[in-house]
Symmetry: C2
Subunit: 347 residues, 2 copies
């Protein structure tokens, strides 16, 4: 009897194990069909071959506060590579302490997004890079003044010439943007536990995280948050099922409508990519939600018309935490010293 | 005749070579008596043993914008390690874009200065580190809020415990300052060409630079700018011989007088250390002079009552350029993500 009992227990556990393992395999197969592991290297951006020379220059420019009128604000100020590629602010603070209109999106893995900015108004990172440099509330500079600054510094002249060997005028605002794009295309965060899972390591996620992933798929989050960046690859109205609260979706910011002037694009935004989402609070374009759990509940409600149980919410959050990858290892660049020809900071 | 002529020419050049080489030896001997090459490692600051754990923590804190009330300003904002350890501003810009009263001194090699700040009001770097964090025009934070921030982040709790294994409360404002001091004590710039010269390599300086060094010694600059940091080791009245212009030495800033209340300390400042001086324009505590040549002329006039020829000025500037050392190679630290308990940015 005891033996029989043991045997049947064993059978039971084996069956259970089989069921779990079949489920896990199913889940992995499903996930592999919906997401893609982050590659070690991004494909070259359009019209911009990534070379070591461009990347080296782009890194300097990314950390170069003299791209701003004040000499105080660099790309890294709002896209801090030590803080998940953003600034942990509701909306960014720029020239003369002005507050920008939207939350700074992460620069990490941004090369995989369909377009850039929350409203997708830039086709790619080289177009994006030109925006903040000129925006009055951000770096408040002009292309001419940027070029004057860069031309005044022999070290930059040399590095632009090396990065753009065929250009008549290597130092240019356009090439600044191209170099920054080339650098940003290297800012990937591979080998998250979710990537390990997608690459076949079933043990990379624990049961709670797997349950979160299953919920993420089965509840419908994946309808928008899919692909290599777990989002970032489509546009959706924020409030597809239910209008979010005014603080979360301020009426005045109509999102992509400002770009296309199509009525149907009112309150449409680029779907947020969710890689490293645990590092990039606060959330949404308004940046008013600091808790990932709260953000998940808002999404479920406004986009899917669902109310998640506490347990479901915790599982989804646990899954989202597995999207944090290896952060880029960056050697802080040494920038060339100014000289008599370098435009002075304007505060 | 031709042969004889050649021979006498050779003798002439040999004599000349001998003369130059004797002079060079003299100069090197003199220089060795007045300056010290930068060591590879600084001695431990008082009451603060430098350990790898403290340095690792201190580096994170040095780059940590959440030490400021706004979450925007870190030590590195004004002491940018990619820009000679300062901010290339006349006077620094802090919380709510307020302008500070004095030019930010470089953090590089600062551990060798007699005291910290232009007026020497901090005895050492751990005392210094507490100043800007609390100053209303700089980071505008409070010790309690800093501790709340650090305590909210498990990664910091762990790192403080490792850095201060015997402390009852490892996470504290005092220990923050100690960790930053430990890190800053590693921010040295060894192996400048001047160091190579001091270490016996006569060829490390060219003739013009050697002439500049000789002038620097013989004209009397060395009376104040000596030692390992070529300055930074004494206090002197700015305007010993002749009062500088109002812009360069604003009447309202009486320097060390504010610290000691001694009449004799009016317009007394800590002598500027000159290492990496070519990287740290603008100059003086007022930060209004952008040209190193102009700064040299002002010093000669106001401190020594001398007018340098253009040629002399150029030689001294050439010498000062040899004080630029190897800049620290810094791997940009990854900072812990905020959570519900972390104080939010206050703008």
């Amino acid at each position: 009897m005891k033996k029989n009992h043991t045997v049947s227990l064993c059978v039971f556990f084996l069956l259970l194990l089989g069921a779990v393992s079949v489920n896990a395999d199913d889940l992995m197969d499903k996930a592999k069909g919906l997401f893609k592991p982050l590659p070690a290297k991004a494909p070259d951006p359009e019209n911009n071959t990534v070379t070591p020379e461009k990347v080296a220059l782009g890194k300097m420019l990314f950390f170069e506060p003299r791209l701003s009128r004040s000499g105080l604000i660099s790309c890294n100020s709002c896209h801090n590579l030590g803080m998940g590629g953003d600034d942990n602010q509701s909306t960014s603070v720029g020239h003369r302490w002005q507050k920008g209109p939207r939350n700074a999106p992460t620069v990490l893995n941004a090369v995989f997004n369909i377009d850039q900015f929350w409203d997708g108004r830039a086709d790619d990172l080289k177009a994006q890079a030109k925006g903040p440099v000129q925006a009055g509330v951000e770096m408040a500079n002009t292309p001419a003044r940027v070029e004057e600054t860069l031309n005044s510094l022999p070290a930059y002249q040399k590095k632009f010439a090396a990065a753009f060997p065929n250009a008549k005028q290597a130092v240019s605002f356009d090439n600044m943007a191209k170099a920054i794009e080339a650098y940003e295309a290297t800012l990937l965060t591979p080998d998250s536990r979710f990537d390990q899972f997608l690459n076949g390591d079933s043990g990379a996620l624990n049961q709670k995280e797997k349950r979160g992933l299953a919920l993420f798929i089965n509840k419908g989050c994946v309808a928008c948050h899919s692909g290599v960046n777990v989002g970032g690859n489509s546009y959706q109205v924020f409030g597809a099922v239910e209008k979010p609260g005014e603080a979360v979706r301020p009426s005045a910011d109509k999102g992509r409508y400002a770009v296309t002037k199509n009525k149907s694009d009112e309150y449409v935004f680029r779907v947020a990519p969710l890689r490293n989402i645990a590092l990039t609070a606060p959330y949404f374009h308004s940046g008013v939600v600091w808790s990932l759990g709260e953000a998940v509940n808002i999404m479920a409600k406004t986009q899917l018309g669902l109310v998640l149980s506490e347990d479901e919410n915790a599982a989804v959050v646990a899954f989202l935490n597995t999207l944090t990858g290896d952060q880029p290892e960056v050697t802080y660049p040494i920038l060339p010293p100014e000289n008599a020809g370098t435009p002075k900071p304007e505060l």
